[in-house]
Symmetry: C2
């Protein structure tokens, strides 16, 4: 399919959704997740060949990275190499919502201007 | 680097940030963008080899996909194949914020459980 769409609705109501199968992703797995206040990942994990990026959308808490714990909050973005042991926990006062993006390490060659093509067609707002 | 971090701060204040160089991404380019109310992409574009995923975080508006315009809103997620001509516009009443993820088509082999390794180490919340 040339494009695929899935509506998760208001983000505050999203507990956990994985998008790869819902929108036919071929270059990543993307999930939207909410940790209830005071709760954390049930175990620490690493990866074989995927890097992960976490973007905190709401709330605050802790990230565990190879034995070191650090505070995170809305707007924190972290890239984690496959072999790093990682986990997250929400603070005691609020749920913590984040987006997690998995992609294969060293898989992208060029981005944005180098990969993009400017088209001459006009959308309604460009006419 | 095994992991990299960048804090963009409260999302409502983010106009546009590209994360690839800030957190050393090797499998994707990720940006957080805000279209001011009533404004859209200044031109329609496609890509050479990257698929793009858009996740609307706030607001609502329109997406243009190969000549067809459709409404989008908070919680809309869309995967777009490289060759598709695309653009977005925010409605007249609110800014529209979204995350855009570029990754190379057909670049990921296995995800989540298949790529993950459960570690025995314990974070503070697991002890």
């Amino acid at each position: 399919m040339k494009h695929s769409r899935y509506d998760v609705g208001e983000l505050k109501n999203v507990e956990r959704v994985f998008l790869k199968e819902k929108i036919d992703l071929t270059g990543s797995e993307i999930s939207i997740n909410t940790l209830p206040k005071g709760s954390g990942f049930p175990f620490i994990h690493s990866h074989r060949e995927n890097e992960e990026v976490y973007i905190i959308l709401k709330g605050s808490g802790l990230v565990y990275l190879d034995g070191v714990e650090t505070e995170v909050a809305e707007g924190t973005t972290i890239r984690i190499s496959p072999e790093v042991k990682r986990g997250f926990m929400a603070n005691d006062t609020d749920p913590m919502q984040f987006i997690c993006i998995q992609s294969k390490v060293n898989s992208i060659d060029r981005v944005t201007r180098e990969d993009g093509i400017r088209n001459k067609v006009k959308a309604s707002w460009l006419k």
